[in-house]
């Protein structure tokens, strides 16, 4: 065979791409056939006409790879990537996300909503036109037009066209948003859908991309430099901008209260509550005070970040947090009134509240956060390094921390019941577990496949201490779940030491096998020790947490939200403590033994002690998660603690980025969110396959994880590309 190498490569690639298309054709859609006829699905996919579409994908991919050298120069031009990202976001919102929660629309996605809306006469034609009453498929058509305009202007360098695309993109985004809120007003249901929000964000990204295309004529986008300039220009400024946007949406278009058949915006609230006995301050808040506070907080945030004066920063923090408190009290008040009236079966405060006030709380938090960042920035001096300070790329990080915090505090109340449960019972708990395992696997580099055992120990400890196991604790040790936390920590710590001490002389694979065995032993003991653990039946009726502290009485149990805030406190404290730990002596010692154990030993590190500490600290975190789990769910049995769960936690940590605290959180959150999200998208039995595909793609294209650890990134990518912004040394005078 004397094929030229090039030809050969092309043929192989073409075959590979087409085969990929066939695989995709098999994956999309319902699984067909029965277990005895595995070939049925394959034949169905092969003989189905839709195969042509997927082969087309394969061909397109082949062309893209083969002619990548011709495409890529355009792709790195300024504005191309925001354009692509925005287009992807809009496609996702059109194809995957819900546009309404109303059960009058099956599935709630854009397609179903469009056909429902365009045939409904009661909705304004402005709205109906967007959903395709005139031209079917209008949303998609608009997207194609906008993106095509953007691409043409990018390739041909036509600023006029780019301006046009930017303007059109914004218009379409706003149109879609308004149309969707008009529809949800018409349907009169509490709306938790995110489709329109994501779409408008996507269009905003497209518009900003087109804006950049119109303005910049260079050949090579400097994305990193751009982000640095934006976030370094006035620390906290982007946060103030974001807060303004969120706040305006909350004040102008979001629903504030959703009892029965009304969904008033802020402007309708005064009307709704006039004469209902709202206190003076709350009615003032709803009619005009909120605008005054918003403008003041906004002005202070901008002043603080722009002028970086300490006084403004402090004022911004105080006003921002004060505004959050005021908003919350007002919400409490008007929702209590709503509760008394018994709308929608409401029986107390905090029910039927719309997204508006929560979003406003988020906006005020961001203003306060902007002030905080400005304040920190003014103070940053590293006394120990008089000549050189590391210019951390921390402005962006701080902004992200504030945004995530605001989201964690104020997003869950606006989610549906289903998602609230998922956020607590899946996402939150596994985030805590992943944070714990990250200590062992990520920082100390010890592969632990039996991590769930400590979670089980924490859960059973709670069950014992609350008196729900066959063996009862002595009376003086009969505790509430929250009081059990210290005990669970200590017991898991001891269990961690007990597992660690004999096994730590093992390395790598051997250690993994032993820990795997340990996990199974704990589970099997839980199954078989009937007299102690109640065997496979498990422990019932574990009480829910309570706090009785003088005048404070808090009883958990009414809703998932309550548990979420408890969990948020636990996660927050853990993250805070572990973040310090990572950058302490012990954190460096862990990195050292992970990198080179012999050298670490020769440098005087007691490797046994350091490894044991990793095991103990990781285990106790897991124990806390166990306490929370047991008291939230109220019922545990050995089936909650399978080997599968251990492996999943390892996968979360690896997926997020081993050794990176934000990575572990992001990894666990993503991979626990994904199966629940996929429930709407693919048949139930296909879910694991799609998750597998996501993990596979991730490991191929981003092996260091979602948010790679700085210390780990170097190991995986080699040392050539690591002179990132994080490690650039600048003179102290410029280190701001």
């Amino acid at each position: 065979m004397r094929n030229s190498g090039l030809f050969n490569d092309h043929v192989k690639r073409l075959l590979g791409c087409l085969a990929g298309g066939v695989v995709l054709a098999l994956m999309v859609g319902n699984q067909e056939g029965v277990q005895r006829d595995f070939g049925y699905a394959f034949r169905a996919a092969i003989f189905s006409p839709r195969l042509v579409v997927f082969l087309g994908f394969g061909l397109a991919l082949f062309v893209a790879i083969t002619y990548w050298s011709r495409i890529s120069p355009y792709f790195v031009r300024p504005g191309a990537r925001p354009l692509a990202a925005g287009a992807a976001a809009v496609v996702a919102s059109y194809g995957l996300l819900h546009w309404t929660d109303s059960n009058q629309v099956t599935g709630g996605k854009l397609g179903a909503l469009s056909s429902a809306v365009s045939g409904t006469d009661g909705i304004s034609s402005f709205t109906r036109t967007f959903f395709g009453s005139v031209v079917p498929g209008t949303p998609w058509l608009l997207l194609v037009v906008v993106v095509a305009l953007g691409v043409v202007s990018l390739v041909l360098r036509l600023p006029v066209l780019a301006w046009l695309a930017a303007g059109l993109g914004l218009l379409v985004g706003v149109w879609g948003y308004i149309a969707q809120s008009a529809v949800s007003d018409y349907l009169k249901t509490a709306d938790h859908s995110t489709g329109a929000q994501v779409a408008i964000l996507g269009y905003a990204a497209i518009a900003s991309g087109c804006f950049v295309i119109a303005r910049s004529q260079t050949d090579q986008a400097d994305t990193v430099g751009f982000i640095e300039r934006v976030f370094g220009w006035r620390p906290g400024f982007p946060l103030a901008v974001l807060g303004t946007a969120v706040g305006l949406v909350a004040l102008l278009t979001a629903t504030w209260f959703s009892p029965a058949d009304r969904n008033p915006h802020l402007s309708g609230m005064t009307n709704l509550f006039s004469g209902e006995g709202l206190s003076a301050i709350s009615s003032a808040y709803l009619s005009w005070l909120v605008w005054v506070i918003f403008v003041v907080a906004l002005a202070l945030a901008f002043a603080a970040t722009y002028l970086s004066r300490q006084a403004f920063s402090w004022a911004s923090i105080v006003i921002g947090l004060g505004a959050v408190v005021l908003t919350l009290t007002t919400m409490h008040e008007f929702s209590s009134i709503g509760g008394k009236s018994g709308f929608d079966g409401a029986n107390g405060p905090w029910q039927n509240i719309g997204a508006g006030p929560w979003m406003l709380c988020g906006a005020f938090t961001m203003f306060a956060g902007a002030g905080w960042i400005a304040l920190r920035q003014g103070r940053r001096v590293d006394p120990a390094a008089p000549t050189v300070v590391a210019k951390a790329g921390s402005n962006l990080n701080q902004v992200l921390i504030i945004v995530v915090l605001a989201g964690a505090l104020f997003y869950p109340p606006t989610a549906t019941q289903f998602w609230q449960t998922v956020i607590v019972a899946e996402i939150g708990i596994y985030v805590l577990l992943a944070i714990g395992l990250n200590v062992v696997v990520g920082w100390a580099g010890l592969l632990d496949l039996g991590f769930i055992a400590f979670y089980a120990i924490g859960s059973y400890t709670t069950a014992y201490l609350t008196g729900t196991l066959p063996i009862k604790p002595p009376d003086w040790l009969h505790l509430t779940p929250l009081a059990a936390i210290p005990f669970a920590i200590v017991i898991c710590l001891l269990a961690g030491l007990a597992l660690g001490a004999p096994t730590l002389r093992l390395r790598g694979d051997y250690l993994a096998i032993v820990t795997l065995g340990f996990g199974e032993i704990i589970r099997i003991v839980a199954v078989n020790a009937d007299k102690v653990t109640n065997g496979p039946k498990g422990a019932f009726g574990i009480p829910q947490p309570v706090i009785h502290l003088g005048p404070i009485h808090i009883q958990w149990g009414q809703s998932a939200l309550q548990f979420w805030y408890l969990l948020l406190v636990l996660i927050g404290v853990t993250v805070l403590l572990f973040n310090r730990l990572e950058h302490s002596r012990l954190g460096r010692a862990w990195a050292a033994i992970r990198e080179d154990e012999v050298a670490a030993q020769a440098t005087g590190i007691n490797t046994t002690r350091v490894k044991l500490l990793a095991f103990a600290i990781g285990a106790s975190t897991s124990g806390v998660a166990g306490v929370f789990f047991a008291s939230q769910i109220g019922y545990i049995n050995p089936d909650n603690f399978l080997l599968n769960n251990s492996i999943l936690v390892v996968a979360y940590v690896v997926f997020g980025g081993m050794g990176s605290l934000p990575g572990a959180i992001a990894g666990a959150a993503t991979l626990t969110w994904l199966p629940e999200f996929l429930k709407d998208q693919v048949p139930a039995e296909d879910r694991q396959m799609w998750i597998g595909a996501v993990i596979l793609l991730m490991m191929i294209f981003r092996p260091a994880g979602l948010i790679p650890a700085k210390r780990r990134a170097a190991e995986l990518s080699g040392f050539d590309g690591v002179k990132s912004a994080e490690t650039v040394a600048v003179p102290a005078g410029e280190g701001m």
Binding site: P383, A384, A385, T387, V388, A390, L504, R505, R507, L577, F578, R580, L581, S584, R585, L586, G587, R588, A589, A591, A592, E595, D596, E597, V598, A599, A600, Q601, A602, T603, G604, I605, N606, T607, T608, L613, I617, R711, R712, A713, A714, E715, F719, V722, K723, T727, V728, A729
Partner: protein, 315 residues
């Protein structure tokens, strides 16, 4: 075959204090004798070089001195820092870890620091952090105080950063403080490894072929650095090196090993003229029957992971 046993004292001292007193140390790996009744004394404040052809047992000797290997016979006495009492590292509980064998990290804590023939830094930590790891093995604050950010922990953290910057300045790497250790040039990595070792406040530093793979200019700088470590920091230096020019220019005394046995000891000038040394390096026609028959080349002991004794000694 004790050809020359010159016990010339260090030039300045009249009655030298002993740092390492090694007597009749024998180290075997199965049937292979890596060190055969090696004895030597190291004096405080001197630069003692160990030379010998490849496979002579130099690194085995280093590993025995630092507790990585435990010799089967003989004794090793250590008094690393000034004022320490001479103590056996082989049979003293002070050097035992959790298990009943000499623990490397305890030897380090008693004032012996070392570098490795194949550089063993922590590549994913920055240069500064590498040194801080060394400095911090002398600190006390634990995980709880770190998590709570206690004042004493913060003070220790500050001290370790300051000390690490001092050491970076000492080896001339200040500009690269925040670069990852793995991204440094070869010569810089060598110097960083020395700085990390110095961070543990040693009384003795063992340098295993510090000049390997460096160019002549770097060699000159390195010789200067070793002298400064010796004079300014008052650290005794035990050096393995193949580069004769470097060794002869900085060492106060030399010990020559061949096939696991000490064949000579003395001042550089004496060693250069020593017939046994010349024979070992250049080969002889049919002399040295003893060495040729009894001792065989040792297994690869440069990589600590693959040595048979290393397997059992990790903890």
């Amino acid at each position: 075959m004790t050809a020359v046993t010159s016990t010339a004292p260090e030039p300045t001292a009249t009655n030298p204090e002993v740092v390492y007193d090694v007597k009749d140390v024998t180290l075997r790996f199965g049937g292979v004798t890596s060190l055969n009744k090696v004895s030597l004394q190291m004096h405080r404040g001197e630069i003692l070089a160990v030379i010998g052809p490849n496979g002579a047992g130099k690194t085995s000797l280093f590993n025995s001195l630092t507790g990585v290997y435990t010799p089967q016979e003989g004794s090793i006495m250590l008094a690393a820092r000034k004022g320490d009492e001479l103590t056996s590292i082989l049979h003293d509980p002070r050097f035992y870890g959790a298990r009943k064998s000499t623990a490397t990290h305890l030897i380090n804590r008693h004032g012996v620091a070392r570098t490795f023939q194949n550089i063993r830094l922590f590549p994913a930590l920055t240069a500064l952090e590498n040194i801080k790891v060394g400095v911090e093995t002398r600190q006390k604050s634990g995980p709880v105080s770190a998590m709570l950010g206690m004042p004493w922990q913060r003070r220790e953290e500050r001290e370790s950063t300051e000390r690490a910057y001092e050491l970076l300045r000492f080896v001339g790497l200040t500009a690269r403080a925040n670069d990852l250790a793995g991204a440094l040039a070869y010569g810089e990595q060598r110097r960083l490894e020395i700085a990390r070792a110095l961070g543990t406040e040693p009384g003795v530093i063992l340098l295993d072929e510090p000049a390997a793979g460096t160019n002549p200019a770097e060699k000159r700088e390195l010789a200067e650095l070793i002298r400064r470590i010796n004079v300014e920091d008052n650290v005794s230096v035990l050096l393995i090196e193949h580069d004769m020019k470097l060794v002869m220019s900085i060492a106060h005394r030399l010990v020559v090993l061949n096939f696991g046995e000490k064949i000579a000891e003395g001042k550089p000038a004496d060693i250069q003229r020593n017939p046994a040394v010349i024979a070992a390096y250049l080969g002889t026609t049919n002399d040295e029957p003893e060495a040729a028959t009894t001792a065989q080349p040792e297994p690869n002991t440069t990589d600590l992971d693959s040595g048979p004794a290393a397997e059992g000694d990790e903890s």
